[in-house]
Point group: C2
Chain length 146, copies 2
DNA sequence: TTCTTGTCGATGCAACCGCATGGGATTTTC
DNA sequence: GAAAATCCCATGCGGTTGCATCGACAAGAA
């Protein structure tokens, strides 16, 4: 296959750098206040929104690896934020529920996370450009087919 | 601080997802052929271009953490791709040089890496949109000031 | 010079990730 | 309805990361 076009390489490096810088900033921001990392928030939010989720569904929704999610849930259960409840329909699995502390943690994390997103991303791009970015990135945010 | 605008959140999630999917694809592509991960390529390329580099300069250029680069270089030296040469000007540090194998490895990695970038990114966005993306991402690829 | 401060790079330790695999339950196939 | 294939989730192991810190040199101040 041919070498990627120059514009491809430029956009490529900037995409990776931008995502890395921004996510690092968020993680650092949460950590500096003694809060868990961003993935925890995503899990807490997803479960809070749906009431309960099977690990498999979460895995798909969040785009994580199966083992990564398994261990992430482990840690969150150990931290008292989540409960694993045996699943009546399917004895292989279980459903995940928020504890009171889990709900509180999500609420506590949001302002910090939100502010970090704003600082690392929102405030650095004009509204109009954010719209354009969302549109341009849409195809790239879909699973790679080939 | 206020909650980020809806467009911010949408663009944000897509940015992270897009970068993650694409870089995963590249890493997997190289690994499936028994080649080292993308970071190794970046290091090899940077050194090949400049002839030699101090770790500190590489760290800045690649945007990695100091300890991460230190250990990455370790592995690459152990793999026989790099040499650490004492630095005459500054006895604290050293300069990094490619070995013959290092040069060969960079050359071997490129077609694979290039094709992966093309598959994960280039071929999924029109030329015109790549230009737009590069422009929109430019401010985000700069270090976060605040 | 001597003392303080700053920079370069390495590393111990604990947490985390990726790969491969395993055990158990379910669905499919014949 | 038994065997085969598939799916759900966990985990052992080795490699990697992040944090904090350290040792060594360099540069600036007194």
């Amino acid at each position: 296959m041919a070498m990627p076009a120059a514009t491809t390489l430029l956009a490529w490096t900037r995409l990776l750098r931008a995502a890395d810088l921004a996510s690092q900033h968020c993680a650092a921001s949460l950590r500096s206040l003694g809060l868990p990392p961003p993935e925890w928030y995503d899990v807490l939010l997803a479960i809070e929104r749906s009431g309960a989720q099977r690990p498999r569904d979460l895995q798909v929704a969040l785009g994580t690896e199966q083992y990564a999610l398994s261990r992430l849930v482990d840690r969150m259960v150990r931290a008292g934020l989540l409960n694993r409840v045996p699943c009546p329909d399917d004895a292989r699995g279980h459903t995940l529920h928020l504890t009171i502390e889990g709900r509180a943690m999500r609420a506590a994390m949001w302002p910090v996370y939100a502010q970090a997103i704003e600082a690392a991303f929102g405030s650095r791009v004009e509204e109009e450009d954010r719209v354009a970015l969302a549109r341009l990135l849409a195809p790239l945010a879909k699973p790679i087919s080939a």
